[in-house]
Amino acid sequence: MKKAIVEIVDVIDTGQVYQELSHPKSGGICVFVGAVREFTQGEEVVSLEFEAYRTMALKEMEKIAMHASDQWQLNAVVVRHAVGPKEIEEPVVVVGASAPHRDACFTACRYLIDTLKERVPIWKKEFFKNKSVWVSAHP
């Protein structure tokens, strides 16, 4: 049975993802975790915050999960993003794919995170010591 978990949460628990992706027909499970990095282009980030257009973000995440699931015949897929204030080293996004063999889950995992970053309406604001910036807003 195919399984897709798509969620927007306040706090990500990276410990739960293996259980969610584990499947009797899967010989490979691939997970990507995105975290808060301390430095952006040489500047020290104090903290950051994510905001989402929740209904649309969930719809887009669902589309990405379904497409990956069909394209690479996944047994399970997870797409989970966090919102709200985040500290350095905190996980902010987890995507994962579970498939019979590793090639499919590596490729699917890459597709999940790349497409999420490109399409899902979630915004990151970085707070530095003296300013704050919406990431990617300006060329």
């Binding site: 649309m56 999420l116 915004w123």
Partner: protein, 80 residues
């Protein structure tokens, strides 16, 4: 007509919901809405991209806007 604002769009307008008055000429398409925004708030013209969502789906410029649609401005996304 109400327009939802997120991220930098919220900062540019100064609120999370923009009400376009019915006495004005209301935009009838996504393209017109973008034009209205850029002329009222020139900072929208400086963004890397400016997308619009209608009923929580990305909408191209030629999509028409109808009463009751949920309309949102989608500035450059930066999730992940």
């Amino acid at each position: 007509m109400e327009v939802l604002l997120f991220g930098i769009a919220k900062d540019i307008v100064g609120k999370s919901l923009l009400r376009l008055d019915t006495s004005e000429n209301l935009p009838t398409s996504v393209k017109e809405l973008k034009q209205t925004l850029v002329s009222s708030f020139p900072q929208f013209g400086k963004l890397s991209s400016l997308a619009v969502a209608v009923n929580s789906e990305y909408a191209e410029d030629d999509v028409s806007l109808k009463q009751g649609d949920e309309i949102a401005i989608i500035p450059p996304v930066s999730g992940g």
